[in-house]
Symmetry: C2
Subunit: 341 residues, 2 copies
Amino acid sequence: MTEIERTAPAGSNITADDVAAEAGVSRWTVNRAFKKDASISAKSREKVMRAAERLGYVPDLRAASLASDRSHLVALLVDDFANPHKLVMLETLTRVLRRAGWDTLLVNTLDKEDAGSALINASQRRVDAVILIGIQFDDEVLKTAAHARRFRKLIIFARTSQSPDTISIAVDDVKAMQDIAGYVAKRGYRRPMFLAGPRTSSAHLKRKETFMAFWQERFGTVPDCASVAAYDPQLAAEVVTAELGGRGRSELPDILVCENDALAIGAMDVIRHRLGWRIPGDIAVIGFDDIPPAGGLNYQLSSYRQPVAEMAEYLVEVLESREDRDFTRLFEGGIVPRDSA
Amino acid sequence: MTEIERTAPAGSNITADDVAAEAGVSRWTVNRAFKKDASISAKSREKVMRAAERLGYVPDLRAASLASDRSHLVALLVDDFANPHKLVMLETLTRVLRRAGWDTLLVNTLDKEDAGSALINASQRRVDAVILIGIQFDDEVLKTAAHARRFRKLIIFARTSQSPDTISIAVDDVKAMQDIAGYVAKRGYRRPMFLAGPRTSSAHLKRKETFMAFWQERFGTVPDCASVAAYDPQLAAEVVTAELGGRGRSELPDILVCENDALAIGAMDVIRHRLGWRIPGDIAVIGFDDIPPAGGLNYQLSSYRQPVAEMAEYLVEVLESREDRDFTRLFEGGIVPRDSA
DNA sequence: AGACTTTTTGCACCCGTGAGCAAATTTTCT
DNA sequence: AGAAAATTTGCTCACGGGTGCAAAAAGTCT
């Protein structure tokens, strides 16, 4: 190796020491140059940055994280990839987090048993926080999490949980579902059927309960109800076929209130193409989440939009705050009326 | 702090030293216990694991990565969240990678200008490889990548690139499109129109060119062609409206060959609901990727399925191999015929 | 049992950076 | 100019674990 070698040979390891030598300062000055709000003169920073540029140096975040005990890294645990809404959430979260200087580890929680090992996975990378956006995180899993916990914050996003040591950032499901129920009633529907998703003990959506309670109180009747094992349009299609197939028009509910759009879309497909009814003529449909296809020409699905971006911004605030007590922060969205109901 | 403190107080930092003390061995024996294929007796491993369990110890992968220069971490750069196929790819990749012991950093490349800084981002985490699954990575970006490169491998997934130092893992677009063109011809369609996605200089899909060439050679005519600025159903809808709106039935192409399903689905929506034609009666549609809704009741879209899981398995092989020359590995999928064409 | 081979264990040194303090330098004020 | 205050810089020690070798322990053979 000659001394002339200046430009970074691809793959080599330029460290702060190399830059320090090049710039004629100490290693610590180099590190300070890369740190915002560090105590360093504009002149030396400039000098360092120039040298770093020449050598192709970027600080090693592993070492930084090791030394400072802050990784600026979060783990996103996801298990529910059949729901198109997940793509929206992933996009929003990664965008907002990255803008704020946070990196995201995407962990696919393969199945329920796997949730625990996914948490250990995250622990080993020493993430600052774990964010759960999935459905199969029950109390048991969360308890495991609390045990082997090597991260400061456990955040449930877009869902609320009663578990201790857990932060929830979600839409106010009760308020939202009351809005929907009110909308359904006001539009004159009187024989609703509720299409629910899977039930988990923790991190529960209170949508079904709220709707049922509302309806019973208002009209004294208990609506029909069906449940789907996952937020998957195809599964929803099967359930709706089983429920509504063979019914005459008069036996049909007048509206299908769905726990979210993934279910609603599967239901709409069945209603139109397998059962041959028209929407909203024969039966109306309303969903939740306002996923992209809901606004498309084909579905024109009335839905409820969560302020996902706003929730993500708040998530960043939570990550950046020092305190780590548990709490729940609720947001409010709004109904997006379209043709389907 | 008393000496009685045994169980890990949540958030504290148990290190290999602590476990070593607890198990009555040296720190290195502890680390060996956690390393597969390490030179350690079954007895001491057992002893160590028991102690680790008691204290709630898990090895720190930051430190491991720092010391060994292997992070077992990859960065996934994604920019194209409007395409539902991305969700499938994300699911498959994260699942397969995790099974093989690799963690995934999901980086949302906000826009074209941002691609460079996304790469630096990944570099700072010292990932072992960067995987690109997006559309806006042009030669310039890739050149930047090659420059500031702190990772061993740059892999373009589900797309091919001519860039040097770049590994491509993709479906054989030429072969695939020839299959599709053959299928279209055999089904008797004679006035196709091609709906293409955005063009990028590098990492190009050769689908359009292949289809055009095939058709010209076979029938001597050059099919109509339209182009959409992103793989987004909504954008596709606009383009198709502009192209086909106002045409009479006889002026219509008899089939719309789409570069992928995201475009096809947007096109189908317009054709049915805005233009009022029937599929495949008035105009047929064929896509690419076989995204979930393609198989749903509503679309029943004929498409081409890529062996994504198989490609992901191969990706793992590439990650695990030592050599880092550039090459391209092509896979073969197959047409999934449905009602739309 | 003694000599030799194989397995297991311990150790020095290194990976690249941060926190916090003391020394050096610059700026400000009288 | 000289002293005090403010800013900048360098340094020690620490973060947690991997590499490769040497010492120790265990197993094998005659």
